[in-house]
Subunit: 334 residues, 2 copies
């Protein structure tokens, strides 16, 4: 068994061998699997549910692989919703001929990242398609989290609230570009791909007045904040000078004509918090290795803005309105 | 907007348009979407979770399409676990150039089937890959169900328990073969693709002594029962003569060398029930249109069988042991 064959996708003897030797070896065998569904008892009444498919190209990149991304991405969606990630499901669509070795490496990374994030993978599925019908491997992860009593309070967002980011932006986007060798130059940029459960959980425990959080993935920080402004009808003014960007990320962007504000991040959280709690939140973020470059990057400019604008005070002192990512930028970034 | 472009997968303006015009139009807009995860309050403490990716080829076939299959398949996995399907998530991986019209048709079917099954689609995700990197459309659906107090009791399985199937087997497999025009002949066989929530819910309400259920999808009735026998360490004897198979399905199998016992079903349930309740269960199944061809097809031969054997009493009177589906049969049947 060195490469995936179509028989691995058909639910028979060969598929059973794949599940035993690759998946159960890493994820463990749960008694839940006696049923067609995983059966779970919940300690609380309110759950959060999120789903994501991962199609990143290439599958392995500096700082991670598709498996790490799938776990971290889903766990982070739950965490920013104020939920503690509880269980995940994992669905694999595999191209015929895919190396079993690579699959094992990816699944092993998933198991490690899930352990780090404190979640269990309780249900899985594998499908195999003919050579040429998929590009190597796609993974869907769906996550269920337990919503904490100490909920986010977007309804309390008010003028003057602070906007914080937990670290430098655009790292994941440039790491992927670098892995695709589209940069035409060498960079040492690693993807920031990481689970944020620990840092977010402590933030919600220790800091009162956290209004809302988001993980700025596809579409980058700008698109994420535009959506937030539109959904909740307030406006934000960011200060370009304060937004942390690695020099090599900015350099790569300058050469290729990308804007770090629109590049994907996979281990960052953007937080809106009561300005009175801003410094406490900042200190807490900075006490973590993954939050050491955290910064206050702007503020809520108005909380009664029907059109929900995202404004950027540029380095030269002008103010411009930012929109969603408009056209094609970087396909298959996650 | 007639065909899917890479920009539809990038989380920007174009992606937003796709979500608004295709998905929200059919699935509706939920207030849950204000967060990165759907937030749900549960009425009970115990949930069932299942995940499946669908890669069926072709996407449209007699009796359904990939969307109907995705909903029914996931809902049925929950139902046979003794849970009432509650919410679903849907993840779409779309090939660049895919017709928006087809996507709309599929999504509309999903919304209809979800309504029929009484579930809400609470979270979604779309990714787009370059032309040639996927075959049209893949869908992952993950389902959460509420486990009922009246649980299945596999621990009570005993010698003499009856094995029932809710209708003819192999219909879905032959419908897909027919749609692929691999039969070289015309058949009128429709896929049995359907949600079984109603019929299973009533069965669990009305019939005491339902030990366990399964939906015999990939790998067919034989593989499903082999897995059950191995997991719970009992043996089953099926009576070949009693297993309902449509004449045209049997005919297609005879010509092509397939065995209906190993062909996929997408709207059937196999049930192990106390023999005293067998007739009541049978009558209840037969009172439904989708259960009108239900039959008792065998019995539990021994409940202390470490090796968990599935035996078939053939039409000619011999008894043979059935194994899992062994090699490649029908890739991308679901």
């Amino acid at each position: 068994m060195q490469r995936i064959s179509l028989a691995h996708g058909e639910g028979g003897e060969v598929a059973n061998e794949l599940i035993q030797k690759v998946f159960i070896k890493s994820f463990g065998h749960s008694k839940h699997t006696q049923f067609d569904s995983a059966i779970l008892s919940l300690r609380e009444q309110t759950i959060a549910v999120t789903t994501d498919s991962f199609v990143v190209n290439p599958l392995f990149f500096p700082g991670g692989n598709i498996g790490k991304l799938a776990i971290a991405g889903t766990v982070n969606d739950l965490a920013v919703s104020g939920a503690i990630p509880y269980v995940l499901t994992a669905g694999f669509i595999i191209e015929e001929g895919f190396p079993i070795k690579s699959l094992k490496d990816i699944v092993k990374t998933m198991a490690e990242e899930a352990e780090r994030a404190g979640v269990t993978i309780v249900a899985g599925d594998t499908k195999v398609v003919e050579k040429g019908s998929a590009d190597g491997l796609f993974i869907n992860t769906t996550g269920i989290g337990i919503v904490q009593e100490k909920r986010l309070q977007p309804e309390l967002i008010q003028e003057g609230d602070s906007v914080l980011i937990s670290g430098t932006i655009g790292d994941h986007g440039v790491a992927i570009l670098s892995a695709r060798q589209e940069l035409g130059l060498l960079t040492n940029v690693q993807s920031d791909c990481a689970s944020l459960t620990g840092i977010i959980h402590e933030l919600l425990e220790e800091v009162k007045g956290v209004r809302i959080m988001r993980d700025p993935t596809r579409g980058g920080l700008a698109t994420t904040l535009v959506e937030l402004c539109e959904d909740f009808r307030f406006s934000i003014e960011l200060d370009e000078d304060l937004i942390p960007v690695r020099k090599d990320v900015q350099g790569a962007c300058d050469i290729l004509g990308y804007d770090p504000l629109y590049l994907a991040n996979e281990g960052k959280v953007v937080i809106i918090v009561d300005s009175n709690e801003e410094q406490k939140a900042l200190a807490l973020l900075q006490s973590y290795e993954i939050g050491k470059n955290a910064k206050v990057i702007g503020k809520v400019a108005s909380c009664e803005d029907e059109s929900g604008k995202l404004l950027l005070k540029t380095i030269v002192g002008t103010t411009k309105r930012l929109n969603r990512l408009a056209g094609p930028l970087l396909p298959r970034i996650c």
